[in-house]
């Protein structure tokens, strides 16, 4: 089936070469980082995680694209999703691959990565994150590939995939929960020390993942002969709507607890993000952009007229995706380190090589996604042509 990835139009190859070029630039910068150390990044003694870990955190959310089509289809028999489950699963594969890459490039000594396997440590949340992320990757590759293969051969999928599909649903919840636990269990990091962290992760995942999936569905419809179906997109957009509203609600819950209780530690992080702390305000514009975009998206999604209109729906999905990226990919991780344990503020801004490496990983993810989608859609076109 993989052979289908080698037969494509000029546009397909041009896109892949374009991505390869970005990957090459990122890889070159990564070699520089390997030689010089992480000092080529903007991270510091005080803000010791930055853009890389932010992207990882955000992309764990995007991987929820799979469960949001698999769950309705297999548990609630929402037939409209039959055509796009594979798209959700393959998007999850690409996202988790990016997550893993971001963790590896953030390590000070990536060659020692396998120490995590050699010295398994169940009391470390990072150990569990390794298990759930790799497990989710494995599940989605196996399920996606097997079901697609069966579709190609025009036979029902083998019986043994069914249990794997059922396992993949709670497993998806686990990747968000465990990733949230990385942050939510640390004493002295007030911005992260909140019991609704996992709930926030789930809510933002369930809007950012499906939002990207909707955008991808439109792209697929535009560039290929495969039509994911209007009703499927409509159902997905409703999921995005609810998840986005819950996400915004959860952020407001944090604001209430911090500012009504007036406990300084709880207020510092939000103050830093929205108005600045002790004269440091580098993230303030990003955070207001997040607020504006999420409100715009909510407005467009709640109104059925704009939700059902293709153009406004795309705007809403881009706004949802980008606003969640600002909140998870930039703000969340950095603000946990502000103020530092000595109540001083050290700010963080990524450097150019750091951004290029990040871009390289994103390009790798999109390369994987393109190849997987190419295979899936070629199969679908083949089947539908019969």
């Amino acid at each position: 089936m993989l052979d289908l990835a080698f037969k494509g139009s000029k546009k397909y190859w041009r896109w892949l070469i374009f991505l390869l070029a970005i990957i090459t630039v990122g890889a070159a910068c990564f070699l520089l980082q390997l030689r010089e150390g992480l000092k080529i990044t903007g991270m510091s003694r005080d803000v010791s995680w930055g853009f890389y870990i932010g992207q990882f955190t955000f992309l764990v959310g995007v991987a929820a694209s799979a469960v949001m089509v698999v769950l309705p289809y297999y548990l609630h028999n929402v037939k409209e999703f039959r055509r796009i489950t594979i798209l959700g699963e393959f998007l999850a594969v690409a996202s988790v691959m990016m997550c893993l890459l971001f963790i590896v490039i953030d390590l000070g000594r990536p060659m020692r990565l396998f120490n995590v396997v050699l010295h398994p440590t169940p009391h470390s949340i990072l150990f569990w994150d390794m298990i759930v992320l790799n497990g989710y990757l494995f599940l989605n590759i196996v399920i996606g590939w097997t079901v697609l293969h069966a579709e190609k051969k025009d036979v029902p999928p083998p019986k043994w995939v069914k249990p794997l599909i059922y396992v993949s649903i709670p497993w998806a919840v686990s990747i968000h929960t465990v990733t949230a636990f990385l942050y939510a269990g640390l004493p002295g990091r007030h911005y992260w020390l909140t019991a609704i962290m996992a709930a926030r992760f789930l809510a933002s995942a369930f809007c950012s993942g499906p939002a990207l999936l909707i955008i991808l569905c439109f792209l697929v419809k535009k560039y290929t002969k495969f039509d994911p179906g209007e009703t499927a997109i409509d159902k997905l957009s409703k999921i995005v709507t609810y998840a986005l509203l819950i996400s915004i609600f959860f952020v407001l819950l944090e604001v209430f607890t911090a500012f009504y209780s007036q406990v300084p530690g709880h207020m510092h992080g939000l103050e830093y993000l929205f108005v600045g702390l002790d004269g440091h305000a580098k993230l303030v514009p990003f955070m207001w952009l997040f607020a504006a975009l999420s409100i715009l998206a909510a407005f467009l999604l709640v109104n059925p007229k704009t939700r059902k209109n293709e153009r406004t729906l795309i705007i809403a999905c881009v706004a949802t995706f980008f606003s969640m990226w600002l909140e998870k990919g930039i703000a969340l991780v950095v603000t946990g380190f502000i103020p530092n344990p000595f109540e001083q503020v050290t700010e963080y801004m990524p450097t150019v090589p750091e951004l290029l490496i990040t871009l390289g990983v994103w390009a790798t993810g999109f390369f994987i996604l393109t190849v997987l989608y190419k295979v899936a859609i070629s199969v679908k076109e083949e089947v539908e042509a019969l």
Binding site: L38, K39, G108, T121, R189
Partner: protein, 260 residues
């Protein structure tokens, strides 16, 4: 029996996956671990702790700037001197009262404390969050309470730095060696990409010596000893003085105590 190339690759892939189970198998096989024998001279304790008498330190400071404890520690442990505060590495240093004890500071803080430098170092917590989060056990706690680092096992994920509420940990953002003025050949230098911090001079305790900072302090402001022994100097000091600990409310049970 005919096998297609696809089947061959599948079986090959599964076999390769199976190899990753090897370490688990080795653990289960229960090979006997070698036993390390401690020197007879070694200092032994149940729970090592330090009492810092800041008044004694400040008395000495009034006569002139004293950095004896930092210099002693940083030179014997090959701690690089990097002047960039974003990249610096430190095992023991001072922070103003307001920063070392942010939860104790308020508008009318007594003049004797305001802006006064406090010696800070790893607290060797009895319930260390850094040990809890480390995915490789490169940071671990010894039976005598010392929170140690295995620089050769650390993968540089910096989870411990996020977990430590005291800012006690430093990361080698680059190669530290060019920043070491005079190398002490008896202690390892670090490589880029690993975390490091105070080790309570475990290597000195092993040969019967007190921590370097304690030995270097002419004001005798730093007292090191075993809280498991009720007759040790630290136990007596804690009984007879009012002491404070950094961020006591977080439940990490720090083992550095301050007399103010």
């Amino acid at each position: 029996m005919e096998k297609s190339r696809r089947d061959f690759l599948k079986i090959g892939g599964i076999s390769a996956l199976g190899l990753t189970a090897l370490p688990a198998f080795k653990v289960l096989a229960g090979k006997k671990q070698p036993v390390y024998k401690l020197s007879d001279k070694a200092l032994k304790g149940k729970r090592w702790a330090m009492v810092v008498d800041m008044k004694k330190c400040w008395e000495k400071q009034e006569k002139g700037v004293c950095k004896d404890c930092f210099v002693a520690c940083h030179s014997i442990h090959n701690v690089p001197q990097i002047d960039n505060p974003k990249r610096e590495i430190k095992w023991i240093w001072t922070e103003p009262y307001e920063n070392a004890f942010p939860n104790l500071e308020y508008e009318y803080t007594a003049e004797v404390l305001k802006d006064k430098p406090f010696i800070v170092l790893c607290n060797h917590c009895s319930k260390p969050p850094c040990v809890r989060v480390c995915p490789t056990q490169a940071t671990f706690q010894r039976k005598d309470g010392i929170v140690m680092m295995d620089f050769h096992r650390c993968i540089g994920c910096r989870y411990c730095m996020a977990a430590c509420p005291y800012g006690s940990r430093s990361f080698n953002w680059g190669d530290p060696r060019p920043y070491i003025k005079k190398e002490n050949m008896a202690f390892p230098t670090r490589t880029k990409g690993v975390v490091e911090k105070c080790n309570f001079c475990a290597e000195r305790l092993a040969v019967g010596l007190k921590p370097a900072c304690v030995e270097a302090c002419k004001a005798k402001a730093l007292v090191f000893g075993d809280l498991g022994d009720p007759n040790s100097e630290v136990s007596k000091l804690l009984k007879s003085n009012y002491t404070i600990r950094r961020k006591n409310d977080l439940g990490t049970h720090p083992n550095i105590y301050y007399i103010i």
